[in-house]
Every structure is written in C-alpha cells, then in structure tokens.
C-alpha cells in the first residue's frame, strides 16, 4: 500500500506549481483551517494561484492566526473565488481587499450555498446545475437562466482544483478522515473536488481504529496526510467529544 503520510508540511506542498488552483478549508476561526499547510505554501512560494475558499483570508472575525491571508500578503494569488471576501471592519480592511480593489487580484464572488454546491458538483462529476439563489441579482450576470416550477434559476458550473488543503481531526493510514464538531464545513467537499487532497490532522491511526460509521471522508479521496506536531495554543479540548450523554 502506498504510504500517504508525509513527515513535513514542506514535503506535502513541494510540488504545487505556479498557476495551481487550490481549495482551502476555512470558516469562522482556526478550527477547520489547515494553517500549517498554508504556511508551508507561503514558504514554498508558488505564484499566480487561484484560491477557492469561503473568504479571502484575514477577515478579522475571530482569533488572529495565519490563514490564507498570508498568501495574499506574499503576492502569491492572482484570483480568489469566495463568498465572504472582505473584512467586516471598514477600518481594518484585509490585504486581499486592497489587492482586489486595485485590480491586482481578481475576485469571483459566489453565494455560499452556490460555492458549496459547485465544489461538491466538481467532486461528483456534475458539470453544472440550476439553483434559484442569485436570480434577479448581480449574480445572474452572464449566466443562463432556466425557469423551473415558475421560478427563475441560474445555471452554475462545477469547481475543481489541483489541490485541496483540508483540516481534519484524525486520519487512518488509508486516508479515511473524521472531523471534530464544526471543523467539517468546506473540508469534506473540497476533499472530493481536487486532484491532490492533502489533509492536516491532529492524529494518525491504524486502519480499523476509526468507527466506520463516523468516517466522513473516505480514504480514496486523500492522497497525502500530515500530522500537526505542535500546539498552536487555541482554545481546544481534544480529550473531549461533543456528545452530551454517553449511551
């Protein structure tokens, strides 16, 4: 069996070429964000990247940490596909905001449900689908409109990537992943939509140690696994699960 475990984040991102399309799990805080992979990619330096993620990094919603904001800072990004690209604070605009407004970075803004579904479609071999969301708004621009049950809907295209950087709780050696609480967010759908999915995890275990009923990402989707070796110091209680009553 091919060994999927990489010793360092450096090795895991070494082959990312200039111009790659990269999906990055990220939503409201560091929980589900593969920030060590992102840091390694900044050190690696690949340029002209297209980033697919919920935000364009550094939106300042919660704890401060190195999300994909640092790729914009390092001028590695040429395009971002996101639903929530800007800082919520006018006085603390993100790096991406300045780059987008100056035209240095191209932005494709997508409603979050459409973004999720386009990513899932990419993984599921669905080239396009109709959704009501966005009809009659600026999102409609340039899109085919179909009417279903009297409701106008937009034809939206699948999104695929060269790489997906995902964050999970545990991986087994086959690549099966389990997540912890709200860590899932975009990670499981990005894992299926990229040619090379790299998982950043807290624990690597032998096959058979994960409950097969709880595995969210089947191992066939994960090509590389890297274990986090330090504690970044965020509030987290890995010894606990979120079950209220034990059966």
């Amino acid at each position: 069996m091919i060994n999927k475990v990489f010793e360092t984040f450096e090795e895991a991102v070494k082959d990312v070429p200039d111009g790659a399309v990269i999906m990055v799990g990220n939503f409201a805080g560091p929980g589900g964000t593969p920030f060590y992979l992102i840091q390694a990619l900044r050190r690696q330096g690949a340029k002209n990247l297209t980033i697919v993620a919920n935000t364009a990094g550094g939106i300042g919603l919660t704890l401060d940490y190195d999300d994909h904001r640092i790729l914009f800072e390092n001028k590695q990004v040429k395009k971002v596909i996101a639903s929530f690209p800007f800082s919520t604070s006018a006085s603390r605009p993100s790096v991406a905001e300045k780059q987008i407004l100056s035209g240095e970075v191209e932005l494709e803004i997508v409603p979050q449900g459409t973004l999720s579904e386009r990513i899932r479609a990419g993984g599921a071999g669905i080239p396009a689908f109709y959704t009501p969301t966005g009809a009659g708004t600026v999102i409609e621009k340039g899109k085919e409109v179909g009417v279903f049950d009297g409701r106008p809907c937009l034809l939206e295209r699948a999104l695929k990537a060269d790489y997906a950087f995902v964050r999970a709780f545990k991986a087994d050696l086959m690549g099966n992943l389990v997540y912890r609480g709200t860590q899932r967010q975009f990670n499981p759908i990005m894992a299926i939509a990229a040619r090379t999915t790299i998982a950043e995890v807290d624990q690597v275990v032998d096959p058979g140690e994960l409950d097969p009923e709880s595995i969210v990402t089947p191992g066939i989707y994960v090509k590389r696994i890297v274990k986090v070796k330090e504690d970044p110091g965020f509030p987290r209680h890995l010894e606990r699960n979120f079950q209220v009553r034990q059966a």
Partner: protein
C-alpha cells in the same frame, strides 16, 4: 420629535414571538442573534448554522470561556457555542441542502434597504464599494419565512424602507415581515401592511419615515413584546 424607539433587545423580543415549537431557525449577525435570548419557556427552537451544526446550545458566556470555548464548536459568526442533546454536524453542502431545499422554517436577517415589494438589500457595505454575500443570499431566497430586522431609518434619518432598493439586491421579493424599532410591517401581495406600532407612535409618524405608502391593517395595534 425624539420619540422613544425600541431597543435592539426589544426588537429581538418582538421577533421571538414569531417562533413556534420545533421551528428550525437560522439567525443572521447583529439584532437577529439576540432573538435566541427571548425564546418562550418550554419552547424548543432548533438553530442551524451555515458551518454545519444544528440543535446546538447557547453561546459560551464570558465566564464560561476558559472551561468551554473550543475552536471546533463555533457558529457562523465565529462565536463559541455549546453542545446540546440532539445536536448534529454536517458539511457545508449538506448545510446548504437544508437552506436551499426549503428546510429552514425561518431566518432573521439584517437590512440595508428593503423595498415595498419585499426586495432585500443587505450584503454591500454602505460607502465601501464592496460586500460579503456569505450565506445570506441563499437564506433570503430559500428560507420558508424571511424576517427583516432593522432600525426604521439610517443613522442620518433616511428611510431604510424604500420604493426601490438603490443598492445591490440580496434577493427580490423575499421578505415576509419587517420588524423595526418603531413598527411591524407585513409584506403581502407586493404591498406593505402596517400591523403594529411602537408605543406612542402614530400611523402618520411611521409613514413619514417610510418611503413607500403603507397600507394600514384593519387590526392595527401596539407592539406587544410578551
């Protein structure tokens, strides 16, 4: 001239009266988030958050932070939330399956402008030329009931309830009920029906701060919070 307006908490209390037992609810950022503090005793409301949790408990308070805060249990605003019996987790595509599929009974959203036909505009930052769509557009288009929670006028006194929205729409004809700091207005048959007034306010006073013409509900009454 400076009549009393409802506080944000009072608006949230009024909105909480729209809840029902077993309701599946997604609350936007701001006033909407406050609604969860005013759920009537004994009523079960099931909260949904875009990032893939449902049926979770209250937000972690400042005192509980050290004991309970966990970066793997947050809501869409990045607040720490608490586990609750019956809670479950799912990924983003399954989360928006709930929204787009019409499985959310009610959403409460903030407002930049709302039009007389119920068009909602709330995703562009005023004066910044940019905006975040996030999950709000899917909610506005697809939740079974959309409640707009807003101050009746902007900081400089201009109506937020307008004939036609002048900024980019979140969704056309989506709002069912508008709860402001001086009135409750129902959107029905592409008209605005004034249903409730804040204590001390008259129909004419509310109309004066509203761009489109309001129809007055036959059973117009004073806003009751409990």
């Amino acid at each position: 001239m400076t009549k009393e307006r409802l506080s944000r908490e009072a608006m949230a209390m009024r909105i909480a009266k729209e809840l029902f037992d077993g309701a599946v609810v997604n609350l936007g950022i701001g006033i909407p988030t406050l609604v969860s503090s005013f759920v009537p005793e004994g009523m079960t409301v099931i909260y949904h958050t875009e990032n893939g949790a449902m049926g979770f408990g209250p937000v972690v308070t400042a005192e509980e932070m050290k004991e309970k805060a966990d970066i793997d249990l947050v809501n869409a605003s990045g607040q720490y939330i608490t586990p609750q019996a019956g809670m479950c987790f799912f990924h983003h595509a399954d989360s928006f399956t709930m929204i787009r599929g019409g499985h959310i009974d009610m959403t409460v959203l903030g407002v930049l402008q709302v039009s007389e036909k119920g068009d909602l505009a709330n995703w562009m930052f005023p004066g910044r030329g940019v905006g975040n769509i996030g999950g709000g557009m899917d909610l506005a288009f697809n939740a079974k009931r959309v409640i707009a929670a807003t101050e009746h006028t902007t900081k400089d006194g201009k109506p937020k309830i307008v004939k036609r929205c002048s900024v980019a729409l979140t969704a056309p004809e989506c709002v069912d009920l508008i709860v402001t700091d001086i009135a409750v207005i129902e959107v029905k048959d592409k008209s605005l029906w004034l249903r409730e007034l804040a204590p001390g306010w008259t129909v004419d006073e509310v109309q004066a701060l509203t761009e489109p013409t309001l129809k007055v509900a036959p059973d117009l009454k004073e806003i009751e919070l409990l």
